[in-house]
Amino acid sequence: MGIEQKLGNLGVATTTLEQAVAWSRTNAMWPMLFGLACCAIEMMSAQAAHYDMSRFGMELMRPSPRQSDLMIVAGRVTRKMAPVLRRLYDQMPEPKWVISMGDCASCGGVFNNYAIVQGVDEVVPVDVYVAGCPPRPEALIHGVLRLYEKVQSMKFAEVKS
């Protein structure tokens, strides 16, 4: 705190590099448009005017994986769709995170049968699970904020090269 007392109102802030990087990552995290089923409608509601996700930095949803950092898997993933999901995840540049939205993406949900992958963590590594069928937009925003807390506590030694 010493140098800040000396500089006073010169408009200079001091922080660590990790905090600065975490601040820039969380304040403009762009999700990839990956709405599959019913949860996609609640994701669209969360993006719309009533529960605005742009307040949290997610101003727009990028359809292209090359331009997004976050993949919100919203909806049930079938065995036909699973390789497509993996390929899109591989096409995203580092650093990337995955939120598994809804019960079907987290654990298979209501559907325990031949066609649905029981939990999208069999296909991609997941950072935050949001429960609900479908989760309310507020629940999704809560999940996003938990992800931000996780990103802010990431150390550089943990980042995959």
Binding site: R79, K80, R86, C107, G108, N112, N113, Y114, A115, Q118, G119, D121, E122, V123, V124, P125, K160
Partner: protein, 169 residues
Amino acid sequence: MEKKLQPILEKLEKEFGTAVSEYRGDTSAVLPAEKIVAACQRLQDLGFELLSALTAVDYWPEEKPRFHVIYQFTSISLNLVLTLRVPVPGIKPSLPTISHIFRNANWRERELWDMFGIKFHGHPDLRRILMPADWEGHPLRKDYPLGYEEPQFTFNYEEINLRKPYAKE
């Protein structure tokens, strides 16, 4: 039974030898597999323009007939609904296609091939529609398992965790 349906059913009975039954106001006629194309063409001429549904039921372990294929017709001009049931045996099940008469039968018959394994002769494009193209088996048959996976509760959490295929990075 609706009055306007009566003459149509009589024509069907005379020309194709159908057996008519009624349940809760729904009329259904059973007819053999060879006559289905001619019957569908006749029904389209009589005013049934819309093929509402084409589905099948599996009566395994009964072998003869194992499947009943159900054709549901709607007539908009006469405001009538009629069901046709066709029994199909379990060994090498097959039927002639009606996709040249009703074009929405194209995908519906593909779905029956995919889900039940019923082949349709003369279909222009018989391949899987809902399952991946290299899937084995026909899911809606009664001898196909549901694919139920044991739910993970607290008492078996660890043992299921060990065999669950988690994704690598």
